[in-house]
């Protein structure tokens, strides 16, 4: 039988911080909502309880990070740099697909060395809102919504039941908040606060949900 994927909550190297995590992104009519918890753990110790796992790659493109904190920070730095160079050369805003492809190239070509599960989402003039997931190994898939990180396993049933096509902005935000809260409630490697980023044609809006005001739990 095929071996199971490495447990995301266990660090790959001694002393390394892992983002045992719940990350999520969901398209709505006109944009994308991206969210994440804020717990960074080294083994069973919470190294950072308020981290920001939704990294900006460009004005309207963000990336949710899960897996090794070091690996995903490095990948987001590289993608941010390449995307900025690409934008200068091409003279217009980059597409979400380009950002996702850059992340995928890095993840695929270095698949033996990296432990990174990434969700890239944003708004561009070509597709409107879109979400791409790049799991371990470097596959890239476009999805209407995506979940990732160790906490995602606890909410597959929930998101399958609650997701519907063509949600409004508010519905999508509530869907993401509620799903992440449920995962945080049950996954020891996820917790803290929820950071939400809503991206549409007009720009980005960040929201901070404190740990004592979660829609469910902890």
């Amino acid at each position: 039988p095929p071996p199971l994927p490495r447990d995301m909550a266990t660090p790959a190297r001694d002393g390394e911080a892992a983002t045992g995590t719940t990350i999520m992104a969901c398209c709505f009519d006109g944009g994308v909502v991206m969210g994440a918890d804020s717990r960074v753990s080294t083994g069973t110790y919470i190294a950072n309880r308020v981290s920001d796992k939704v990294a900006a790659l460009h004005d309207s493109i963000f990336m949710c990070r899960s897996g090794s904190a070091a690996d995903t920070q490095a990948i987001s730095d590289y993608v941010r740099y390449y995307l900025a160079a690409h934008t200068t050369e091409v003279g217009r805003a980059p597409t979400v697909k380009t950002a996702a492809t850059l992340a995928r190239r890095i993840a695929y070509e270095n698949k033996d060395q990296l432990l990174a599960g990434i969700i890239v989402g944003g708004w561009d003039a070509v597709q409107g809102g879109s979400v791409y997931v790049v799991p371990l190994g470097g596959t890239m898939m476009q999805m209407p919504f995506a979940i990732g990180g160790s906490g995602s396993t606890y909410i597959y049933g929930h998101v399958d039941a609650q997701f519907k096509e063509g949600m409004s902005r508010q519905e999508a935000q509530n869907f993401v908040k509620k799903s992440i809260a449920h995962a945080m409630a049950r996954d020891g490697s996820s917790g803290g606060i929820i950071r939400l980023v809503t991206i549409d044609a007009n720009g980005t809006e960040r929201e901070y949900i404190p740990g004592d005001e979660l829609p469910y739990g902890p």
């Binding site: 071996p3 660090p11 002393g15 698949k111 799991p135």
Partner: protein, 278 residues
């Protein structure tokens, strides 16, 4: 005299962020309690030694089936990519066209199949740009992929896929299989993965040369149904692709019917009267 028993190093302050020593202690203890966790990645090279590659598959597709029929060749596969036991992507496209002549279907690591798709797109792009009226034949694509897979195997860094290549050019149907170590052969009907165990016996019994399109599709659907019944990593949502004189086409995903209403299924085997069996 100092006590001989070891006490853990104290953090400089009881509140606030941990010191390096504090964090190191935790990870040291962690490493001690999980001895099977190596301190380096899965395939870390020996200090100064050669790099190993052979990564393990992460996101995987299961069986692919292929048969020759009257008008050409038909391939079939379900639309599932699994992440270990998790059915992660239920809309994944595992069949692709290569120009107007050839179809390629893949099981195994999906990221490696996406890489193979890019390589094949380069080939069709070259064909288009040469614009000399010649396009690669299915047999050439098959031989190209065999070479690629075998060379990667020699470098101990395989593309972790089991491929079926089917096509129709100049009145001739072609169907071949290439696996992750470069084993390559052709036949009238083929199956990879679980399909090799479960679908091939069905195909051996029911395949005829010159089947009509409807018959061929029904035969493949029957095989996919059995695979859904018996393969943990299969799905009842499938795609079928054909290569004929008119060109190549891959269908949209659709759901196949399944039967759960046989009388013997509905019998409860766990009753007190029974033998307690299943």
């Amino acid at each position: 005299r100092t006590s001989t028993s070891r006490t853990p190093p104290r953090p400089r302050s009881t509140a606030g962020p941990p010191t390096t020593a504090h964090v190191r202690l935790f990870t040291f203890l962690l490493a001690m309690s999980f001895p099977w966790e190596t301190s380096a990645g899965a395939n870390a090279p020996a200090a100064g030694g050669p790099h190993q590659h052979t990564s393990r598959p992460i996101v995987t597709g299961t069986s692919v089936l292929g048969i020759k029929y009257r008008d050409g060749v038909m391939l079939a596969a379900d639309t599932l990519c699994s992440y270990g036991t998790l059915a992660m992507f239920k809309d994944a496209k595992r069949l692709t066209t290569v120009g107007d002549n050839t179809l390629v279907g893949a099981g195994g690591e999906y990221s490696d199949f996406q890489k193979i798709q890019h390589m094949l797109e380069d080939i069709t792009g070259d064909d288009r740009n040469y614009d000399d009226g010649y396009n690669h034949s299915p047999s050439e694509i098959y031989h190209y992929l065999r070479a690629v897979m075998y060379q990667r195997r020699n470098k101990m860094n395989p593309l972790w896929n089991n491929l079926l290549i089917g096509g129709f050019k100049d009145g001739e149907a072609f169907l071949g299989s290439v696996d992750m170590i470069g084993t390559a052969f052709t036949d009238d009907f083929l199956a990879t993965g679980f399909g090799a165990h479960l679908a091939l016996p069905i195909l051996r019994k029911r395949w005829q040369p010159d089947m009509e399109e409807g018959e061929a599709r029904e035969l493949l659907e029957d095989c996919l149904r059995v695979l859904f019944y018996r393969d943990c990593r299969a799905l009842n949502k499938v795609q079928v692709a054909k290569a004929t004189a008119e060109g190549t086409i891959v269908s949209d995903p659709y759901t196949i019917s399944t039967n759960w209403s046989s009388a013997s299924f509905m019998q409860n085997a766990g009753n007190l009267q029974g033998d307690g069996g299943w």
